[in-house]
Structures are given as structure tokens and as C-alpha cells.
């Protein structure tokens, strides 16, 4: 089938991004000077509520220092790539600070346990689970027909990608092939979703660094994409639109004009962001050289997506293991080189443009045909047939009540979500419900990599780092 990973794909060209100038490699500023500038920032953004004593969850403490050589990397002890590096002071002078779980810049309910030496983070430990709703267990009780309603709620900023990963996994077990139009609609929707997700990232990244008006701009442009989603799928989020066997409905009439409007509007919006950010000394100073992660650390910690690409790893599942016919479209994969927040910003902004380019190509080449497979084992009969045929009615009823059976086996299908590699691991025992449904979500790895990025930097850089990893906590905790 065409959705299968193609391991023989040739090398692809990925242009590296040239930053306007390499400010953070310049050594004219001393560490003290940098710290002074950052102290100013901290004075402006520090929230007194951080200092509110400990919580009642005592067991999630930081471990004894040096008790765990295996965890040195993931706790951020073994990191030496950041610009501020002080010798560790007496342990009496270290203070423990608890950030979250309800801090606005933690993008949900992420809690960070920080060990501070003055303003510098010595160690950090992310504590998650506040949004855990047992979606993997729920997935075992829902049929494959109902399953996409469940998975779409995990990553609420890129529901289309969750549905696509789930559908690809189920389809690889079933061994069915999608019609060309269904594949093109899937590409259109997921790429639009990538744009809308990156727009939320741009909005929150700006807000967290003090550019509050970015919130308005980002959500303004995202709104037109959500309106398009609502017209086609009926919902603004959690669409349950991409399903095993195709998509739920064909695109609505006049969608071409709306896509053109979206492309025009978002392109103009992205130009505004670049105008706002690129030359902005505050934004540059707060992002360049902040939250650095190296390619080796990315590989060891399973970091993927824009963060890994900003670190210089030329890896995009759309190019390497193409799915849903995305290799038919022409696009480039932006790659950074420093692995800091600024490079992530550049990579994501470029990804928005590339995704809009893909959307435009889909618009020009949308094939005619069916929007779902005609395999009647998984697709209900058309509405018209139900009025005239008893068997069609029974068929429809059976499919929606007891679902369809999927051959026994196990599969892992991955797509490139806005955050990185999003995988679905499904074990089927030959019945209508998955025996095991596991979601490999990118944010889970990225939250785990936060200490690596943020240790040896300043407290004020935490918010910049968290915002740049673009975590969705519903995705982390599932």
C-alpha cells in the first residue's frame, strides 16, 4: 500500500537557515552582562506566586545528587552546552522552587521542580500526570469506528494528525488502500492543522516573552483555519474527520475560494510576525542561545520535530517515510543549526510557509473521486441505498453498532505532527476493538527533555524554553 514507509527514499535537500546574524556566538558580552540584562527581565516578569511553599505531593522530589548516573542527562546535570556555567555552590545555598502546575506559561498543567542557585537553574524535574484521563484504556473499550473520537482529544492542537496516525495504523492492519482524493484531503487537512498549531505556538511564544499582542495576531489567523475546519467537519476541534477508511465527508462547496483566502491571510499574518520578531532586540536577546539542545541529546531523548530540526537533524517523516501520498507534493524541510529557541522560531515560521505551499499544491491538483474507500467491510453504504435496501440498512447499522473486525497483528504507524513524531501502536486480536492502543506522543519526550534544555540557564528563560517546545499537556498525559 502507498502509505507504507519507504525505506529506500533518496537523500533530500534541506536548506539550512541563515540567521540574520550570529549574535549569540559573539563573545563581546560577558556572562555578568548577560545576567544583568536577564535580571532586568526577571524583575519585570517574576510572579510572586512562585514562592508559595511546597505542595503536599512529597514523593516527587528530586533525587539525591549523584545517586543516579543513568539520569544525569535527563536531569540536566550532564549538560554543558549553555552559556551560563557556574561552579555549583554549597548545597546549603541551593533553593528549591516549585513552578506550576497552574502557571500560565506552562501551557496546561505542567509542574516543574527546580533547584536554583540564585537565578540559575541547577537541576529541574518535570512532574506530569495532572491531565491523565486514561485514554489508552478508553481506547481499548471503543471500536475502531469510534476510536478516532478518542485519539483526537489527546493532542487538542493537532487533532487531525492524531486521527491520521490512528487511521494509518488501522489501515495498515486491514491492508486497505485509500483513494487518491481521500489521501489528498488528508494531506490538505493535516497541513492546515500544522499551520493552525504553529500559529498557536507563535501566539504563546510571543505572549510568554512579553509580546502580548502576538496572542491576538496568532489567534486571529488561526481562527480562519478553524472556521474552515468547522465548515467541513462540523467542529472546530476534536473533529473525528479522518477515520479508518477515508474521511468522514467530502469538502464543502466553495472550499477552493476559502483555502485561497486562508493562504492569503496567513501569509500576510506570518509576514507581520516576522516584522514584529526578526529585528526585535528583546525577542532576539531572550531567544538566542537559550534552551539549547544538541543533536546527540535529541537522539538519546527521542526529541523529534521542529526541535530536532532546529538542532540540525535533517529528519522529517514526511520526507523519509512518506504517508498518505505526501511525497507527491513539493516542499522543503527547514533545518537550523544552533538548537536554541531562536532557531526553533525560524524553523516553525518556515514550516508554516512550506505547509501553506503544500496546501496550495493540493488545491491545484485535488483529484476527483471518492473521499473514502469503497471497501464495504469498513465503509457504510451510501445514504441513498439505505432508503431502498433493507440489507444496506442492516449493513449500516451493524457497522456503527458493532464495528468492523481487524485482522490480528500489531502495527506502528507514525506521522509528522506539528510537534514531531506522532506514532500509534496498535495490537489487534482480530476483534472489533483494539487489544492495546498506545500513542507515542512527541510532547511526552519533549517535556522529558526540558531539564536538558533549561539547566544552567536563568529562571526567566524557563518560560521561553517551555514555549519553544510547544508542549500540549493533553498529549503528554493522555
Amino acid at each position: 500500500m502507498s502509505d507504507t514507509p519507504n525505506v529506500t527514499t533518496g537523500d533530500f535537500e534541506a536548506p539550512t537557515i541563515d540567521r540574520p546574524d550570529d549574535a549569540h556566538t559573539a563573545t563581546s558580552e560577558t556572562a555578568e552582562e548577560r545576567r544583568r540584562i536577564h535580571d532586568l527581565w526577571v524583575a519585570g516578569t517574576e510572579e510572586p506566586s512562585w514562592l508559595r511553599g511546597s505542595t503536599d505531593e512529597q514523593s516527587q522530589e528530586l533525587l539525591d545528587r549523584n545517586s543516579d548516573p543513568a539520569l544525569r542527562l535527563s536531569q540536566g546535570i550532564a549538560v554543558d552546552d549553555d552559556y551560563l556555567f557556574d561552579d555549583v555552590t554549597d548545597s546549603d545555598e541551593l533553593q528549591i522552587l516549585n513552578m506550576g502546575p497552574q502557571h500560565p506559561s506552562t501551557h496546561g498543567v505542567l509542574r516543574l521542580h527546580l533547584e536554583l542557585d540564585g537565578e540559575t537553574i541547577v537541576r529541574a524535574k518535570p512532574i506530569i500526570g495532572y491531565l491523565h484521563t486514561g485514554m489508552e484504556k478508553t481506547g481499548e473499550t471503543l471500536t475502531y469506528m469510534q476510536g478516532s473520537t478518542n485519539v483526537t482529544r489527546m493532542d487538542y492542537l493537532s487533532p487531525m494528525h492524531m486521527e491520521l496516525a490512528f487511521s494509518l495504523a488501522v489501515e495498515s492492519l486491514l491492508g486497505v488502500e485509500m483513494p487518491e482524493r481521500a489521501q489528498a484531503i488528508r494531506v490538505l487537512m493535516t497541513e492546515l492543522n500544522r499551520v493552525s498549531s504553529h500559529l498557536v505556538w507563535a501566539a504563546t511564544q510571543g505572549t510568554d516573552l512579553g509580546a502580548v499582542s502576538m496572542m491576538i495576531y496568532g489567534f486571529r489567523d488561526r481562527e480562519c483555519i478553524l472556521e474552515f475546519f468547522e465548515k467541513t467537519t462540523g467542529l472546530r476541534m476534536n473533529h473525528n474527520y479522518i477515520r479508518p477508511g477515508g474521511v468522514a465527508a467530502d469538502l464543502h462547496d466553495g472550499w477552493e475560494d476559502e483555502i485561497e483566502l486562508i493562504i492569503e491571510k496567513v501569509t500576510q499574518g506570518v509576514g507581520e510576525y516576522e516584522e514584529l520578531f526578526n529585528g526585535n532586540p528583546i525577542f532576539r536577546d531572550r531567544t538566542m542561545g537559550v534552551g539549547v539542545i544538541t543533536p546527540e541529546e535529541c537522539r538519546a531523548l527521542g526529541v523529534s520535530g521542529p526541535i530536532a530540526r532546529a538542532a540540525g537533524i535533517k529528519w522529517d517523516l514526511r520526507k523519509v517515510f512518506p504517508y498518505s501520498g505526501i511525497d507527491k507534493y513539493d516542499f522543503e524541510v527547514p533545518v537550523g543549526k544552533h538548537g536554541d529557541v531562536w532557531d526553533r522560531y525560524l524553523v516553525r515560521i518556515e514550516e508554516i510557509k512550506q505547509s501553506l505551499g503544500i496546501v496550495k499544491q493540493v488545491l491545484e491538483t485535488m483529484p476527483a473521486g471518492d473521499y473514502r474507500t469503497l471497501d464495504r467491510k469498513i465503509t457504510p453504504p451510501p445514504r441513498k441505498r439505505i432508503d431502498e435496501s433493507m440489507e444496506a440498512l442492516i449493513h449500516h447499522f451493524k457497522l456503527f453498532t458493532s464495528g468492523f473486525k481487524v485482522p490480528a497483528g500489531e502495527t506502528y504507524a507514525a506521522v509528522e505532527s506539528p510537534r514531531g513524531e506522532l506514532g500509534m501502536y496498535i495490537v489487534s486480536d482480530g476483534r472489533e476493538k483494539p487489544w492495546r492502543l498506545h500513542a507515542r506522543t512527541p510532547s511526552f519526550n519533549h517535556v522529558q527533555a526540558l531539564p536538558t534544555m533549561m539547566t544552567d540557564s536563568l529562571v526567566a528563560d524557563i518560560v521561553a524554553t517551555i514555549a519553544s517546545t510547544d508542549p500540549v499537556l493533553g498529549d503528554v498525559d493522555r
Partner: protein, 159 residues
């Protein structure tokens, strides 16, 4: 399996079964429990140096009852490798691979949390997603949905 990527692994580990499943030719290696850590280390050395995923599957009536499933990726070879290792219910213990892949830290904690599988050698094997005082491991198949009455802090006692 005759594949140049896996040839060094297959040579060194004759007791490991390699297979390709489905039309998408996903590579799966079935590893004996006691060879697991060594195999992962060897796979890391032949280029599977990207940690992707670790989870477990509960087969309930099968022996061994659990499977720990590890997904690795090789950027250089552009291949994925899925490593499965059977874990008996009587002694659900697997060697931890946090020393090889630090990224396995949260995944092993999650698997311990939800399946009760112990990763020996893990430096911080505590619950990750569930509250620390939670009893049981809910992703096990004998833990049915709705079997735990959820009592919220402010609600009156039900029993």
C-alpha cells in the same frame, strides 16, 4: 533474516527471532528476557541510536503474560526496529535501558505505573501519571474500566 542492517545483530544474537510484519514490512525482533539489555546496547551500537517509544502489552492468558515493546529508529539507515521481550506475570522484571537511552526514563516509569512492570536498575522508578497513592496498575487487562470508584476530595464518603 538476510538484511545487511540486522546481519551483525543476528550473528551476535542467534537466539533472537527477526521477522517482518504486515505489508509495510515493519521489522520486529523477539528477544529473550535475559538478552534484552545486551541486545538493545548492540542495536544502539549498529546505528539504532534514536529512542522512539517504549510500552507494554498485556496478553492476560498467554505465557509469558506481558510483552515490553521498544521502538528504535536509525537516522543513518532510515530503518525502524521494534524489539519485543516477553515478561512473565510471576516476576514482571525487565532490565532498565535508561543507561543506554536516557529517553526511556519517563516511558519506563509510565509502563511501571500502568502495568506494574519493574525495570530493574531504573534510578527513579516511581509512578508518573497516576497519583502516588494509587493502588493497582490500570492498563492490565484484569483491571476493568470503572472498577475504581473515583472519590473527589470534596465529595462525601460513599461507603
Amino acid at each position: 533474516m538476510t538484511d545487511e542492517v540486522f546481519a551483525p545483530l543476528a550473528e551476535r544474537f542467534p537466539d533472537v527471532d527477526f521477522e517482518q510484519v504486515l505489508a509495510s514490512k515493519q521489522d520486529v525482533a523477539h528477544v529473550p528476557l535475559d538478552r534484552y539489555r545486551g541486545f538493545v546496547e548492540a542495536a544502539h551500537n549498529v546505528g539504532f541510536d534514536v529512542f522512539v517509544d517504549l510500552c507494554a502489552v498485556d496478553y492476560l492468558h498467554r505465557k509469558p503474560r506481558f510483552d515490553v515493546v521498544l521502538n528504535l529508529l536509525s537516522h543513518t539507515n532510515r530503518r525502524r526496529l521494534r524489539i519485543r521481550v516477553g515478561v512473565p506475570a510471576s516476576d514482571p522484571t525487565v532490565a532498565s535501558i535508561t543507561g543506554i537511552f536516557p529517553g526511556a526514563n519517563f516511558y519506563e516509569r509510565e509502563t511501571f505505573d500502568l502495568f506494574g512492570i519493574v525495570f530493574s536498575g531504573h534510578p527513579d522508578l516511581t509512578r508518573l501519571l497516576l497519583p502516588d497513592d494509587w493502588e493497582g496498575h490500570p492498563l492490565r487487562k484484569d483491571h476493568s474500566v470503572g472498577s475504581v470508584p473515583v472519590r473527589f476530595k470534596a465529595s462525601p464518603k460513599t461507603s
